[in-house]
């Protein structure tokens, strides 16, 4: 062997030794690695893969993350591209109301309706390696209602798998509902508060109204008492006449007050019916002016009435319209000082009638103007005391005008500048009802009638009987129903004035029996303290010929008595077609 070869061999041997050493070391390293892995001393393994190394974590390192996943309230799942669930956390299984074993390996579409499953598949297909996707679906659950959920789909590091984070929208919806409900509650609370304030305001106005009412009712009593006293102490003729005038005026004012009150209550409860017929504006004005004529003179005012020459004829309730205009005039009188002027005008404006009541009085402050037609509202209570009035007149005007299909407006340039009320009525052409009877017809010659007064209040009965006797009638009084029937047989009256509210048999029953015993020629007139519409209806049904509301106004009563027709009478030619429905 050549030395060089020997050296080479030696070198080779050294090289081999080194290789062997290196191999041994690498083997050792591998063995050590395997031993360490086997001994459970390793957290993770590093795997080379494209595009780079990945860490494959052995069991324990992911324990905190797993714990986190298991304890979180959101549902979580690892899902393959087909929608099969490879892993789910506890919350998701609970949300599905199934065991984890059931859910693991199952398919998402098992828990969704057809359309929802399609939407989820769409959302899955939209997820790319970089972007997430969201979808809201209803999850179907055994033994529970479907629950709205939101699924956030994220790409995972492994391309064929997706991470689902599932939010139960139930609580969110619940909170939304709560927020909504709370909002609505606070809204209705504000509404209640507003209503409460309104009610309190109304209550306050009512209290004030009652105070004024008491005052107004008491006012006429002192002059009445004084006048009575005067009559008792043998006055001379002129003094007696003055006392009588005072009593008449004060009584009228009480009656008007009570009438207004009744009207308001009837209007508020919508029990007023209009009796529409063909009427003439001039007649309405005349009736309205009658109401205030006396007061205008007493207060030293000037009332100027303007009407076009051509008559304005239309459909309406003359009494109610006259009452409305009368109220506006009364209002004007009340708030206009001595020497002031009041204008009443009516005109035709195409298919409307425009009625104006203007005065030069104290006017209406701007803040009161919008409320002037409200019940119990008056410009100034302290002022009102001196002017009188209840604050209901204009409310009546508004309701009555509106019932006629019209409107009423108030305008004023402010305090001290007067005010103007404008009523606009639709001009309805008169229907074919024929010409109304003339209510103000002159009474014919007085005929003596036999009149039976049935009334349990002795004073009322006696004063009524005296009045009738003064008018030349022959009168008897019965104080209850049975006595009335007896008296009717003995006295054979032609007319019975029958109070409805009498003891024993009530008025309706007495009327029926009278009608049965004496036939249709007997005139039976109902007297009631209530002018309510259903009373009238009932009295008609019970067979009454007329219905009068107490307190009776003597002039009306007289007019009514004279309007009665008796078949045997010679003066029966006053045929008015049909009798007025009611007189009151």
């Amino acid at each position: 062997m050549e030395p060089r070869t020997y050296r080479q061999l030696l070198a080779d041997n050294e090289g081999l030794k080194a290789q062997l050493h290196s191999l041994r070391e690498r083997l050792e390293e591998v063995e050590e690695t395997v031993a360490a892995v086997r001994a459970g001393q390793v957290d993770a393994l590093v795997v080379s893969a494209e595009p780079g190394e990945e860490l494959y974590v052995l069991e324990r390192i992911d324990r905190p993350y797993r714990l986190l996943l298991e304890s979180m309230a959101h549902g979580a799942a690892v899902v393959d591209a087909d929608g099969r669930i490879a892993y789910c956390n506890r919350s998701l299984a609970e949300l599905f109301r199934r065991s984890r074993d059931e859910v693991t390996g199952s398919h998402w579409r098992d828990y969704l309706s057809g359309p929802d499953a399609l939407r989820l598949a769409d959302a899955l297909s939209e997820v790319s390696q970089r972007s997430s996707s969201r979808v809201e679906v209803l999850v179907q659950r055994p033994g529970a209602s479907p629950q709205p959920i939101e699924i956030a789909i994220h790409p995972s590091p492994i391309s064929s798998l997706f991470c689902f984070v599932v939010t139960d929208l139930g609580p969110r919806r619940l909170i939304q509902d709560l927020v909504e409900t709370r909002k609505r509650l606070s809204e209705s609370e504000a509404e209640y508060r507003r209503l409460y304030d309104e009610l309190r305001d109304e209550e306050r106005r009512k209290d004030e109204f009652l105070a004024v009412l008491a005052h107004e009712l008491r006012n006429p009593l002192a002059p009445l008492r004084n006048a009575l006293h005067l009559l008792r102490s043998e006055p001379d003729r002129q003094q007696a006449e003055q006392a009588r005038a005072i009593m008449e005026r004060q009584l009228d004012s009480i009656v008007r007050l009570v009438d207004d009150l009744l009207d308001v209550s009837r209007l508020v409860s919508e029990k007023v019916e209009l009796r529409k017929e063909s009427i003439e504006l001039a007649a309405v004005f005349a009736r309205a002016v009658d109401v205030v004529r006396g007061q205008v003179e007493t207060d030293g005012l000037e009332l100027i009435v303007a009407l076009p020459e051509a008559p304005i004829r239309f459909e309406g309730d003359e009494v109610r319209l006259a009452q409305s205009i009368g109220n506006m005039l009364s209002n004007a009188v009340k708030y206009t000082d001595r020497g002031g002027r009041i204008f009443l005008s009516g005109e035709r404006d195409q298919d409307r009638i425009v009625i104006r009541v203007r005065d030069t009085g104290i006017g209406i402050p701007p803040d009161v103007l919008p409320r002037v037609f409200d019940l119990f509202v008056q410009a100034d209570r302290s002022l009102t005391r001196s002017q009188g009035g209840l604050g209901i007149g204009l409310t009546l005007v508004k309701r009555l005008v509106e019932m006629h299909g019209g409107r009423v407006q108030a305008a004023s340039d402010g305090l001290g500048r007067g005010c103007e009320f404008t009523v606009t009525l639709p001009l309805e052409s008169p229907s074919e009802k024929g010409v109304p009877e003339d209510r103000s017809a002159k009474p014919g010659s007085t005929t003596t009638r036999r009149v039976l007064v049935v009334e349990d209040d002795a004073d009322s009965a006696q004063s009524l009987a005296m009045l009738l006797q003064i008018w030349g009638h022959s009168v008897e009084i019965a104080s209850d129903g049975h006595k009335a029937l007896d008296a009717a047989r003995m006295f054979e009256p032609e007319i019975v004035l029958l109070d409805i509210g009498i003891p024993g048999l009530d008025g309706y029953e007495v009327a029926e029996r009278l009608r049965a015993e004496h036939g249709v020629t007997l005139k039976v007139v109902a007297l009631t303290g209530y002018g309510r519409e259903d009373d009238r209806k009932r009295s008609r049904e019970a067979g009454f010929d007329r219905h009068l509301t107490k307190p009776l106004e003597p002039a009306r009563l007289r007019e009514m008595l004279e309007s009665f027709e008796f078949g045997s009478d010679a003066d029966a030619e006053r045929s008015s077609g049909h009798p007025p429905a009611h007189v009151d």
Partner: protein, 109 residues
């Protein structure tokens, strides 16, 4: 010079007696924390201040495993002095670490 100073401030020189050790871990696991503590205790006992430990977290960047061809964590790598040596596991067996790193040949002086 205290050992602490040496560990934190002094650049170990590659040719001299400075040691450079790299500890590969994956996250802050109980095992990786134990491995680091065990290593410090051993080094303090045997190397005084002449060493530096670099901790590399593969959970943050798995690619760093390529440098030293790491296949499992924790793994301790002796970069210097050469030749490179590796010890896998939590380094709880002190004897094995001392033998593996050949620390017994270079006791404290």
């Amino acid at each position: 010079m205290t050992p602490q100073d040496a560990r934190t401030e002094r650049e170990p020189d590659a040719s001299g007696d400075g040691w450079i050790l790299k500890l590969y871990v994956a996250g802050q696991t109980q095992r990786s924390i134990a491995a680091l503590e065990n290593l410090k205790a051993i080094c303090d006992g045997h190397l005084g201040g002449k060493y530096k430990i670099e901790v590399i977290d593969l959970a943050q960047n798995p690619r760093l495993a390529r440098t030293d061809q790491i296949v499992a964590v924790p793994t301790l790598v002796r970069k210097l002095p050469e030749p490179m040596r590796k010890i896998i596991g939590d380094l709880s067996n002190q004897e094995r670490v001392i033998v593996g790193l050949k620390l017994d040949q270079k006791p404290i002086n």
